[in-house]
Symmetry: C2
Subunit: 360 residues, 2 copies
């Protein structure tokens, strides 16, 4: 790949442009908002001048509802030899492209599993996709060169390509991303009018659960609208379980002991199923290279504790995959949970204990 | 306070015992499981021998459903001058105590806002309550000496006392703790049977949202059962909003444009309300000493990056309240979100930039 056009210089588009530019690709930037394109240019993502000939790849980084229309336009203009997109849903845009009679052989739909709560080119970074999954949804009519061009794009961004069907993709992201977003909002909205004293009791649990509800509402309306039926179906299933939970909880408050026991059993089953699902999400039961375990380390409330811990941990050579702090609101005393590869736990534990850390 | 009995040497009871013991209080340990009491003793939490005279304070750290019965028993035996508990709900235990004709003047119900996903005495630590809120629910007949004894307990544990009514407490913890637990389980359980490929797409959002679903199901059945009606009421409200969301999503998939717009408006309103609630939970709009802001710092994927970052941050003298990593599953390249007091942001930002860090 020698040249590319990025259509839409928001967070994802600009990050793609930065990554390609860093690999020596000539990147042309386009946005309906010229200011956004100029910001991306000023960040070193490419040029806002127009290409003089067809580029190798056009990457459409526009909302899902616009993909079909934009694809038809840029294909008519002969902008590129190959086309892809980075939209977070895949079925609807493909249907639009087919309806608009696009050249689907030279268009492969993609979706990098990355993003953030901040939007716009200023939040973009070249390493946004490093180590992330990047889903590609080739069809039987996809040109092999187009597939290879998309694979090159994914490789240049440091991501891992994952091939899926469009329907399978939309169901999966509905489950891991869109539905959680709605659920986080449903819980978080209770706090809009809650008493200050109740809000002040919010601890790490509700803070982590509600974090994604902080995303941009306008952006998320677009994302959810493009996968509306899938998300509605999943939410309806959750609604059925929710009704069972309410029934179970009310049974637990009954005077009749048999009824209370029935309620307990129902709630117990729900919680066990939730725990089993959580363990899969956390990768605790995996056996592949991605499976990890958590090591707890106690730290005091002196300012330098985290620094000392990470210095000691990095000397062990073990790669820390995730960090979670369980601690007070105003102080840092508490438990640091370090997630590391299953096989690295003994190494890290020994290294930290040798430095006087208390692990658990 | 010179002497105390801790009844129930689980995670919370043993942590209380460790804190009191560290302050020179003679602590007597009791548990229906003698092995649990001996483990707590071996950790330095106190002695498993019986007191020879009434102690100053008895702390009941048993499940909510047992508080009334245990209080009646220990008061009949004259175990202590004053009594408190650490149960996570307050209305039911108080009703039980009244029904069993307990001496309610010398019993003040309490609830430290701390805990963890691990249970049992081995996970206990003396600093578990440091900086946390510890709710006390005195009533009009509470003896002043009993209130003072409980305040001394809270101070010895390093926590901050918060006085609330029992009903207000149960509603608040239903909102910040019990309901989120159920909701996390409802989402996580979808992953029990999900395809491996869908599970492999799980990113930081769903991981954070589902974390609390990893808690012990048996323990949580007890907690939820003791606050069942409050949680059922909140979940029913959520269920109503959930139905509206499903209606809104289906409208967004309609062919009729007016209907689609109506759906968009409904979903947009939900997401904006969720974001407003989230901002209160995260303390972003607070003005008190507890309000904080997040500073993003870009890090590379070399092993020593986190250590270097925390060393540089600690040299700035700024207290880091929370840390969140947004990064790849297998590598640590990405964005570290540091939460610090609003007033400390410029100090930290300047210190980190001077060391060559990219902040945003």
């Amino acid at each position: 790949m020698r040249s590319a056009v990025v259509v839409g210089t928001g967070l994802i588009g600009t990050s793609v442009a930065l990554a390609l530019n860093a690999r020596g690709v000539t990147v042309y930037l386009r946005d309906t908002d010229p200011a956004a394109a100029r910001i991306a240019e000023s960040l070193g993502a490419g040029t806002t001048t127009a290409p003089t000939a067809a580029v190798d790849l056009a990457v459409m980084a526009v909302p899902p509802a616009l993909i079909g229309r934009v694809l038809a336009d840029v294909q008519t203009a002969g902008l590129a030899h190959h086309y892809t997109d980075v939209a977070s849903v895949k079925v609807g845009p493909r249907e639009d492209a087919v309806a608009l009679d696009c050249d689907t052989a030279h268009y492969i739909a993609g979706h990098p599993m990355a993003g953030g709560e901040r939007n716009g080119p200023l939040a973009a970074r070249a390493d946004m996709f490093e180590g992330r999954a990047w889903i590609l949804t080739p069809t039987s009519d996809t040109d092999r060169e187009t597939l290879n061009m998309a694979l090159e794009l994914v490789a240049m961004c440091g991501a891992t390509p994952v091939v899926m069907g469009a329907t399978e993709h939309d169901r999966a992201v509905g489950l891991v991303s869109h539905t959680p977003h709605i659920v986080a909002a449903l819980v978080a909205m209770r706090f809009e009018q809650a008493e200050e004293r109740a809000v002040s009791l919010a601890g790490p649990g509700i803070k982590d659960l509600s974090r994604i509800a902080g995303g941009d509402p306008e952006l998320w309306v677009d994302i959810l609208g493009a996968n509306a039926v899938v998300v509605a179906d999943i939410l309806e299933d959750i609604g059925v379980n929710l009704e069972d939970v309410v029934t179970g909880l009310r049974a637990m408050a009954a005077t009749d002991e048999a009824k209370r026991d029935e309620g307990r059993r129902g709630i117990g089953t729900l919680l066990r199923r939730g725990k089993a699902g959580r363990e899969r999400i956390a990768g605790k039961h995996g056996s592949g290279p991605g499976s990890y375990r958590t090591l707890g380390v106690l730290i005091g409330d002196q300012p330098g504790q985290l620094a000392r811990l990470f210095t000691d941990a990095s000397r062990s050579g073990v790669n820390i995959e995730d960090v979670h702090l369980e601690h007070a609101t105003d102080q840092l005393a508490g438990l640091v949970q370090l997630s590391v590869a299953q096989t690295s736990v003994p190494v890290l534990e020994e290294a930290l204990r040798a430095q006087g850390w208390h692990t658990q």
